[in-house]
């Protein structure tokens, strides 16, 4: 990986587009970027790290990683919405790649936190193929952990050796290519731990299994008890149902009887009414029976009044009456009236008188209309017969009803109702109990079924044994991996020590005092004195500069050792070195990588230092501020040899 162009847009102090061409050749592999303090060298350094590692590449201040908003150009943000990005064009394994990491921001008042839209976005374009996702691919090219040996701040690197940082040790292992083995061993250990946990879990499950078996047995007993109890309750309920039904029938019969009694009352009322009517009818009949004689002689009267006595007899009688009354001597037929004739005349006269009287009396009586009286009487008699029949019928019905009522004697209704209500209460209670128990039973049954299935499917013992076997295998393989890693480390350690020692003896002011640098088994760095005594690097010297020498040696050794072609970007390379060390370091830097970008301040490298590496310089740049504006840094190319 060799950088060709780096473009900063609204990143930190860099307002708008600022591009720096960092192309190198095998002969001219050094890029010098000069800048006074607070001009933007470190900003450029962090821009590279941001482009490659996103926010992880931003510096850590007081233990906290800085937010991307902090690195947006304030001037630009004060003017309008825009985009901040850093793009790096680089060449890698014959292909060109362009890495662009960007984030859009909103116009913000100066001095206030800048508002951004979402998270920083990474876009990798290439004329070759790029496997996705981009972040992983990019990390694979130059892992973040390793990057600290390629992109470093000269003022910070002494901490690599002053403190035995695990991250540094890890990075060293990674550079050596041991991390894969470590990872594999770690994965196996993790797997072993997981298997151990699984084993413990299974053992606990096994105990649980036994407990579950016991529980299942108890549950089955409980279920049986519940089912028996349900049966008992069903018997109680059925008994109560029968009792309720009996009561219902009796009450129904009672209702029938009540209905019959009501009907009988109605009949009795009807009977009473009829009796009143009969009484009235009897009174009426008693009156009308007074006409009985009259009615009986009705036919006689009809015959008398509808007949007429003989006119001849009447004439004879009239004539006889006149002859007698006038004391006539001679009859109208000129016959002398003797005693014989006189007696005949008297008889004629008498006969007429009686019949006339009877007729008159009969006529008067008949005018009183015996037929009408008979009709009235007959009507009342008919009524009487009808009433008598009706009352007989009603009485018969009353008698029948009374007999039925008598036959259907019933228990006391209140007792019946109480019995029925009690039965209903028992039914309800039993049904509630049955329902509750049924639910319990169903749940228990389901639980038993589930537990049974679980228990049947459980092959805990076999699993535990299998897990134990696997765990043992993991431990063996892991141990083998570690052994392999140790073997590998022992194999490569001497080469690495040689390279680091070489760098160290070239950089130190007193090469005669030291033999070099060696590594302990746990990657602790030790300084080897001439008398073969070994000092841990942290005890080598309290001086930051001395530590920086060891750190640079380590970086150089690792860079040489690794097969990775990555640029070295050194910010403040001389740091706290004395002039002698600075001179050595300047020379040394040009040889530690295929591309070395040195971000220095004028006091760090003298012209003679630069002159010493003149033929290695590809281009020289200066970081400046337009009008000394704090947010207007830019790159100015001073020298270009490529």
């Amino acid at each position: 990986m060799l950088f060709k162009k780096i473009k900063l847009n609204n990143f930190g102090r860099y307002y708008g587009h600022n591009t720096i061409d960092v192309t190198v050749t095998p002969d001219r592999n050094v890029i010098l970027v000069k800048g006074n303090n607070d001009r933007g060298k470190s900003t450029f350094f962090h821009a590279i790290r941001f482009a490659l590692y996103g926010e992880n590449g931003l510096p850590v201040i007081n233990g906290q990683r800085e937010k991307v908003q902090r690195w947006i150009n304030y001037q630009r943000a004060a003017e309008s919405d825009d985009e901040m990005y850093v793009s790096i064009l680089f060449e890698h394994e014959g292909y060109e790649y362009n890495v662009k990491r960007s984030i859009k921001f909103r116009k913000s008042e100066k001095g206030k936190t800048i508002s951004v839209k979402g998270e920083p976005r990474l876009k990798v374009t290439s004329n070759g193929s790029i496997p996705n996702p981009d972040d992983l691919w990019l990390d694979a090219q130059l892992p973040y952990d390793v990057s600290q040996f390629f992109f470093f701040d000269g003022e910070d690197i002494q901490s690599y050796v002053q403190h035995e940082k695990p991250a540094v040790k890890k990075a060293i292992r990674k550079v050596l290519g041991m991390l894969e083995l470590d990872n594999a061993a770690e994965d196996l250990e993790n797997l072993s731990d997981k298997l151990g946990a699984e084993r413990l879990k299974r053992i606990r499950e096994s105990r649980k299994y036994q407990r579950a078996l016991n529980k299942l047995s108890n549950d089955r007993k409980n279920l049986e008890e519940i089912q028996n109890y349900i049966k008992d309750q069903e018997i109680i309920r059925n008994g109560a149902e029968r009792e309720k039904e009996d009561c219902r029938k009796m009450l129904e019969r009672y209702n029938t009887i009540t209905e019959m009694v009501r009907k009988r009352s109605q009949l009795e009322q009807g009977c009473q009414n009829l009796e009143i009517e009969i009484k009235e009818n009897t009174g009426s009949l008693n009156k009308m029976r007074g006409n009985l004689g009259f009615i009986l002689m009705s036919e006689l009267l009809r015959i008398i009044t509808s007949s007429s006595y003989t006119p001849h007899a009447k004439i004879e009688s009239e004539i006889a009456k006149r002859i007698i009354d006038n004391k006539m001597e001679m009859c109208i037929c000129d016959r002398p009236i003797d005693d014989h004739v006189r007696s005949i005349l008297y008889e004629k006269k008498s006969s007429f008188s009686k019949e006339f009287e009877v007729e008159e009396l009969a006529r008067r009586l008949y005018s009183l209309k015996p037929d009408e009286k008979w009709s009235t009487l007959k009507s009342e008699l008919d009524k009487k017969y009808r009433l008598e029949q009706e009352i007989d019928t009603i009485k018969s019905k009353i008698k029948d009803t009374s007999e039925k009522i008598h036959q259907n004697k019933h228990d006391d209704i209140e007792k019946l109702e109480k019995r029925r209500d009690d039965a209903i209460g028992h039914i309800r209670e039993a049904e509630l109990v049955i329902e509750r128990l049924s639910n319990q039973g169903k749940k228990l049954e389901a639980q038993i079924k589930s537990d049974n299935e679980k228990l049947t499917a459980n092959t805990t013992d076999v699993n535990i044994k299998s897990i134990e076997d696997r765990q043992k295998k993991c431990a063996i393989i892991s141990a083998c991996m570690k052994d392999a890693a140790d073997l590998y480390y022992k194999k490569v350690k001497s080469s690495l020590e040689e390279m680091v020692s070489d760098a160290f003896t070239r950089l130190t002011n007193n090469p005669d005092l030291y033999r070099g640098i060696c590594f302990s088994d746990d990657f602790g760095i030790k300084i080897v004195r001439d008398d073969n005594t070994m000092l841990p690097s942290r005890m080598y010297s309290p001086s930051a500069g001395a530590s920086q020498i060891v750190a640079i040696s380590l970086i150089a050794g690792l860079n040489r050792f690794t097969t990775r072609d990555a640029p070295v970007v050194a910010d403040t390379p001389a740091g706290r070195l004395d002039p002698t060390h600075r001179e050595r370091t300047a020379k040394f830097y040009s040889g530690i990588g295929k591309q070395v970008i040195i971000l220095y301040q004028p006091s760090e490298l003298t012209s003679s230092d630069i002159e010493n590496i003149r033929y290695n310089i590809a281009s020289e740049w200066e970081v400046s501020s337009v009008g000394e504006h704090p947010d207007r840094s830019c790159f100015i190319e001073k020298v270009r040899n490529v």
């Binding site: 009897t282 009949l285 008693n286 009156k287 029976r289 007074g290 006409n291 009985l292 004689g293 009259f294 009615i295 009986l296 002689m297 009705s298 036919e299 006689l300 015959i303 008398i304 509808s306 007949s307 006595y309 003989t310 007899a313 008498s350 009686k354 019949e355 009287e357 009877v358 009396l361 009969a362 008067r364 009586l365 009183l368 008979w374 009487l377 007959k378 008699l381």
Partner: protein, 144 residues
């Protein structure tokens, strides 16, 4: 016509029957109503109650005291029919016996049927009168 009508008294030999049918059973409002019914019934059958020896008549009411016009008219008609102009007392005695026979017969019917069976009586009367009217000497009358 009964000429000394007010002096005549409705009497009976069977007062107990009157008491039973009128006073106790209340089948007639007044005793003279039962008397008239018995009279007509007796005349219809031309029967007279045979007075037992030592039996006494019991007065019911004097004719003059009967305010019922119909009763009087019937008694007058029966009297006119039965009267043979030989003596009113004799005719009245016949009427009393006929009435007792009739009352006694009605009582028998009532005893037997708990009823006077009036429709049957009327029917019998309708059948008997045409023949009976001839027996009574009312020969001038005939069916139209």
């Amino acid at each position: 016509m009964i000429e000394n009508r007010p002096a005549h008294t409705i009497r009976t030999i069977i007062p107990n029957v009157y008491d039973k049918l009128v006073t106790e059973e209340e089948l007639f409002l007044k005793k003279h109503h039962l008397f008239v019914a018995g009279l007509v019934y007796g005349m219809l059958y031309d029967k007279q109650y045979q007075k037992p020896p030592n039996s006494q008549y019991t007065d019911i009411v004097k004719l003059g005291a009967v305010g019922d016009k119909l009763t009087n008219e019937i008694i007058n008609l029966v009297f006119a029919i039965l009267d043979d102009r030989k003596g009113q007392s004799q005719t009245w005695s016949v009427m009393l016996r006929m009435a007792d026979w009739g009352v006694s017969s009605l009582d028998d019917i009532y005893e037997r049927h708990n009823n006077f069976t009036i429709p049957a009586l009327v029917k019998v009367a309708q059948q008997r009168w045409p023949k009976r009217i001839k027996d009574l000497g009312l020969l001038s009358y005939h069916e139209p």
